[in-house]
């Protein structure tokens, strides 16, 4: 599978994250999966004229392009000119390069929330008129249009995340290379279901605190971060707490809130990221699929049943009260 990777209005962090893939031989893993990296901004020898010659061969149809990976938002401004990113050495806006190359590609992959939805670059008043390949936040359209389909028949594959987990990207690319990825593998927002059908809450190490609504009150506290600290793990579609990051990490394990970075529009939640918005003391964002009345009832019940151990540890940065060690065989 011939793969071309280009970057535009983003930070390059999805590429940097990709290099953290859990393998002893990154390039060997790509090669063995049949993935041929035609060019990547960080990983290829070719520079300058060598790159533009390669792009010309793709556009001329001399070199088949099986997968076009775009990282970063597409910058349409100023005034629709695309001049906020002219691809170096070419005098042509990157959005033009992407439109032309996407028309030649068997698959088009948005790597990261910027390329998928616009992401952080589309924050504030979106000074560069940034959008995703096929979405602008949660509205279909984007640079390529709502009806776009790549040559292989699929819409843009949105590997959303800020950054993306390296194995979300690798698992998708390896499945594409093996011709084992179909439209049924995408969720309603075009994200691979193998990670988007999960919630960040699944596998969170703070689950006991969640169950008892024993909440963290300040950074470094061990308690659940949903009630006060802005955590959206019970709503965010991703498997971050079962497919861990950089060994044994995740946002919640690192002591900070999930900001739901796989969701369109996450960059403008309408409240401060580090504080949970509430109405009458009840968080506005309730756990996915949970009826509000039940949430309120269960929360109030579990708060009154919180063991002292859980209550004390929740507002400490280390275990102050350990679980009781019973002497007998546990039943």
């Amino acid at each position: 599978m011939n793969l071309l990777w280009l970057q535009s209005g983003g930070c390059g962090g999805c590429s940097m994250s990709l290099l953290c893939a859990d393998t002893t031989d990154f390039h060997g893993e790509l090669r063995d999966a049949g993935i041929d990296l035609l060019w990547h901004p960080s990983l290829s020898l070719e520079s300058g004229g060598e790159v533009t010659a390669l792009l010309a061969r793709i556009l001329d149809g001399d070199l088949p392009l099986d997968a076009l990976c775009i990282e970063g938002s597409l910058l349409r401004g100023p005034n629709g000119s695309g001049r906020f990113h002219i691809m170096a050495g070419t005098g042509v806006p990157m959005v033009e390069w992407v439109r032309k190359l996407a028309a030649k590609a068997r698959h088009v992959v948005a790597v990261g929330s910027c390329a998928a939805w616009g992401g952080v670059t589309a924050g504030g008043d979106n000074p560069t008129d940034a959008c995703g390949l096929q979405y602008e936040d949660d509205v279909r359209g984007g640079l390529l249009g709502a009806g776009f389909r790549a040559q292989g028949g699929l819409p843009v594959i949105n590997i959303a995340g800020c950054p993306t987990h390296p194995s979300w990207v690798l698992d998708t690319l390896m499945a594409l290379a093996a011709d084992s990825f179909s439209e049924a593998d995408l969720d309603t927002l075009g994200r691979p279901r193998f990670y988007a059908d999960q919630l960040v809450h699944h596998g969170c190490t703070r689950n006991e605190y969640y169950e008892f609504k024993a909440s963290a009150e300040k950074p470094s506290d061990l308690g659940c971060m949903m009630e006060h600290m802005g955590c959206k793990g019970t709503q965010a579609h991703a498997d971050c707490n079962t497919r861990l990051w950089n060994g044994e990490g995740s946002c919640t394990r690192g002591g900070y809130a999930c900001i739901s970075c796989t969701e369109p529009g996450f960059q403008e939640p309408g409240h401060a990221f580090h504080a949970t918005p509430k109405i009458a003391g009840i968080p506005i964002g309730l756990p996915t699929d949970m009826p509000k009345a039940w949430f309120v009832a269960l929360a109030s019940l579990s708060k009154s049943a919180t063991p002292k151990r859980v209550k004390v540890n929740a507002v400490s940065d280390h275990i102050v009260v350990p679980p009781v060690a019973r002497r007998t065989r546990l039943k």
Partner: protein
Amino acid sequence: MTRLLVGPFNRVEGDLEVTLDIADGRVTSAHVNAPMYRGFEQILRGREPHDALVYVPRICGICSVSQSVASARALADLGGMRMPPNGQHVTNVILATENLADHLTHFYLFFMPDFTRPVYAGMPWHAEAVRRFAPQAGEQVRAAIAARQRWFTLLGTLAGKWPHTQSIDPGGSTRAVDAAEGVRLLARVREFRRFLETHTFGAPLEQIAALDSEAALDAWHASDPLAGDLRFFLTVARDAALAALGAGPGRYLSYGAYPQPGGGTALGAGVWHAGRLSAVDVAGIREDATHAWLNDAAGPQHPGSGITVPDPDKPGAYTWNKAPRLGGEIVECGAIARQLASAHPLVLDLVGRHGGTVYTRVVSRLLELARVVPMMEDWLRALRPGDAFCTPGPLPDEGMGAGLGEAARGSLGHWLTVRNGVISNYQIVAPTTWNFSPRDAAGRPGALEMALEGAPVRDGETTPVAVQHIVRSFDPCMVCTVH
């Protein structure tokens, strides 16, 4: 005279274009264009101040933690907060992990592959360069990626993930470390030490850090010229005359790296020029946007009061980057500046003999790998489980803050102003903003633009290899540059 437009420049972070005027086989003039603008300073306006900690790491995927640390320091300055010792140590370990990973990535993935180019096919070391450093296939490239992957597991534990952590708070670290974890983290640092001592240096880190002159470096090199990747680089550097290539402005800036709980920084601060170190006059920084596609009606501004407003049709502009100047002077920042400010004898000697060139920049970066890993071991041993890791405090509704520090590539500063509880202004001056600055109002070129003047261009070259060495010797980060 001929003119060359060079780009896209890869194996730098982000997109880069260089325009070269060439006469008699030499570059006579260079213009550096950072061709992408995203507008973080505009996006941050009107936000709750703490939100900066979500936004600024996403300026850059390779210096993400550096941006977080600068922002946390600016917020701490605004709110009058201090990190407790545990929080300071963990923050330093997190930042050092990123900085050293960037040095490793630069050497193995970005810089060395250029010596595998066909233009060097006649060199006795070319086949060995290909074996070690061919992108995607080179043995050492692949080993370095694997070592980097393991190295970053430090941040899975300490920072949740890399890049884009929110674990760095103005009050310290959101992730406390218990005693058993401290032991495990130290073992992971030792694993990286083993990689460096086996592959990069072929010698103990302490032996590299103790090299105190070019003569000592040369003697160590001569003892086994191809053993380890630093000695291989020294062999190549001699043949490719890298010590005489790409001399910068000769004035070096470091804000000081890794603040210590007792005061001071582990790597020194200062402006080094003509053999003398002086204090950094931060008030003397001005950003000149004469040649940027940005509004400069108010003239050069201190970042505390600067603005960033696009003006894409501005006559005479050729980049999105501003031209920062320190007391009116052009400066270079990076590992070389930090080692000069720390008075490391090897770098003092090398810069005294050759100036700041491709050779001295690369050696300084590798020396820093050898010097900082043992510091990280000390910081991890200094953790006191049970004591606080984070002592957060409230932020005022009105005020200003500045956060200065050292990213892998050099001096990074954040300046913010808060009015009515929201950010009314936020300005960032990143390392490559300094190093890859365009001309200023007086027409004086930036550090890279100067360094490229005189670079040799071979017959028929459209992307001159000497230009590539010089550009990459700065380890530019273009996404930070403009932001």
